[in-house]
Symmetry: C2
Amino acid sequence: MSKDSPQASWREIRRQNARADLLAAAWDLVREGGLGALSLRELARRAGTTTPTVYAYFASKNDIFDALFAEAAASFERTNARPVIGESPDERLIAHARRFAAFCTSDVPRYQLLFQHVIPGFTPSAEAFAPAIRGLDAARRRLADAEISQPRHVDLWTALLTGLVDQQISNDPDGDRWSRLIEEAVLMFVTHCRDPARSRPIHPG
Amino acid sequence: MSKDSPQASWREIRRQNARADLLAAAWDLVREGGLGALSLRELARRAGTTTPTVYAYFASKNDIFDALFAEAAASFERTNARPVIGESPDERLIAHARRFAAFCTSDVPRYQLLFQHVIPGFTPSAEAFAPAIRGLDAARRRLADAEISQPRHVDLWTALLTGLVDQQISNDPDGDRWSRLIEEAVLMFVTHCRDPARSRPIHPG
DNA sequence: GTCTATAGCTGGATAGAC
DNA sequence: GTCTATCCAGCTATAGAC
């Protein structure tokens, strides 16, 4: 097939580079002004081109968000796949939680795109979503390694971590007022999960 | 002063009513389409008037957001001030957490306006903010009643609750997948706060 | 205070030349 | 594929008549 000829693949590489340049400019834009600041005019201007060229690489603005989501999800999967340092399962869980929080707070628009659903009319495609699912599965496996596998405990885990991250981002964006509570929160969590009877329901059902 | 004459105060009441009508229409709008869906044209249309009339009651769009914020903060304060049913401090804390979660999930845009900072260029005025502060102080007092008063535990409390609320809103808006974990989460929390040595830091500082 | 009309701008998306 | 030029819709906000 002619697509495998050297010339064609060279062109393909060029094309991929132009696409990557546009996406890089898009990340710059949203990191400076939030997800709402992504406009095709400004994006084209920063990439040194014009809006019709943008449409040569992306079908629509939401298609750009989808590509950004895919990159964010891939980063999330890579981050979660890296082995974590710690001698005990609990230490590894703490390190894992710290890494997750750092991933989120270090790039707020990326976090909002991945985990909050704040862009009206945008839903990520299945392909873009897949790595995010795998990243969450990695988190589930790490919990299972610490002998925490009940579904409701997994949900409590995600609520605890995203709660800390959200408060950190919303109320102390340049500090560590909530980030520094991660170790205590994780230990509270694992202690509870291993001995749930200690905090017995008041209204048993 | 002529402002106290019957006619003037009647006019003042009319004026306040028109303002209230506009705010009610604004709430309808954001409840249907999110905070981003508030446009002055559509707001005026729904209130049966036109945009210049809106500007007779509000100086700007952000002034409308400020009025919405003030109403939301006042609701929050009233909700938190109501006594809570429960025989023990823990039961009252659980009821309080349930009420907070219900307050948030029952009106997502109100929650986003009050607790997340998602509107570019808008910061609530000090007057609008004051009742929100008092509402949070009420929460602090309830924690103190349960013998939880360390600042980092208060922060952990807000993170835990907003985490549950956020996950509920973002990932299961019509269900109770995270809301139903409130009691367990609160008991985990109070158990930890009363016996923090049980979940001892791995790296003591 | 309320209207008509519109200024002035920004947005996404496209037609058509090259 | 990349450009110029433009369409069309939406927005906040205001001028000026009544």
